[in-house]
């Protein structure tokens, strides 16, 4: 698969809301406080108000449903939505849950972001698919996002 770097996105999550055992699994909602992104074609910050709506399934896989608004340094707003999966060996997942720094190659954390914008300069984002590798650092996830060519 050919791809090229689109951006690195760092997100700070604060105050996880543990809804608990719901019909499809264990629901935890992670509000996004702030963040930033940088890439060859765009850079800027993450606006507050987004979140990652996560669901821990019975097979141990965490489904992630991230929605954010990005603001570029030249004032364009970009809606981002990203479905993902995260799983790994129990000891590794437990270390992440304790807020420890863990080598991201020890677990599988991958997402497929999509973008929407009304700004003509960034309209190319409306016409591409992307994949990302996530790194769940103690303060929040960092995503290295690639455009699928």
């Amino acid at each position: 698969m050919d791809s090229r770097l689109l951006m690195t996105l760092e997100v700070a999550v604060v105050g996880a809301q543990k809804i608990g055992a719901v019909p499809h699994g264990t629901r935890v909602t992670a509000p996004v406080a702030s963040g930033q992104f940088e890439g060859p074609r765009l850079r800027g910050k993450v606006l507050p108000g987004g979140g990652d709506w996560t669901l821990l399934r019975g097979d141990g896989v965490l489904e992630l449903d991230l929605r954010l608004t990005l603001e570029t340094d030249d004032g364009a707003l970009v809606h981002m939505a990203s479905f993902g999966l995260r799983h790994g060996p129990p000891g590794v997942i437990a270390a992440l849950a304790r807020g420890e720094a863990v080598d991201p190659s020890a677990y599988y954390f991958r997402t497929t972001p999509r973008f929407e914008t009304g700004h003509p300069k960034y309209a190319f984002l409306n016409r591409l698919l992307a994949v990302s590798a996530g790194d769940r650092r103690p303060g929040g996830p960092t995503y290295t996002i690639y455009e699928v060519l």
């Binding site: 591409l128 698919l129 994949v131």
Partner: protein, 136 residues
């Protein structure tokens, strides 16, 4: 990003249902009548009864939304969906890319429940072909 081949899926489709201009764009539904899939780890047929529910947006890009059932040659059923886009105006060639997902209850194929994938599509005279890779 690293990836490895998962399967090539060839779909047979029946005459499209052109629902027409709806709130999101032009709705065209492609009924899937059958097909086949093949990869190192799994192979079999596409069962009839699925569809690709597409919408052509105002900017010319077609959004795809497929749901089908696969049956492996050893009789496991796999629910497969994808979202994606087809941009016939993309420079060079149509940009036809999807993000397939899978669900199965068969332990032999449960690895499908735990991966993300990317597909490259091509329209051929006898139906669309999707070359699908697992995202490592």
């Amino acid at each position: 990003m690293r990836s490895r081949p998962l399967m090539t899926a060839r779909l047979s489709t029946a005459r499209v249902q052109t629902i027409g201009a709806g709130p999101h764009g032009t709705r065209v539904t492609f009924p899937v009548t059958g097909g086949s899939f093949e990869g190192e780890r799994l192979r079999g047929k596409v069962l009839p009864g699925g569809d690709d529910w597409t919408v052509k947006r105002a900017d010319g890009v077609i959004e795809l939304d497929l749901r089908i059932t696969l049956e492996t040659d050893d009789h496991a059923l796999i629910h497969m969906t994808f979202e994606g886009i087809r941009d016939d105006d993309a420079r060079g060639a149509p940009y036809f890319r999807t993000t397939p997902r899978f669900e199965t209850a068969e332990p032999r194929y449960s690895f499908l429940n735990r991966l993300l994938a990317v597909g490259t599509g091509e329209l051929r005279p006898d139906g669309p072909v999707h070359v699908i890779e697992e995202i490592l």
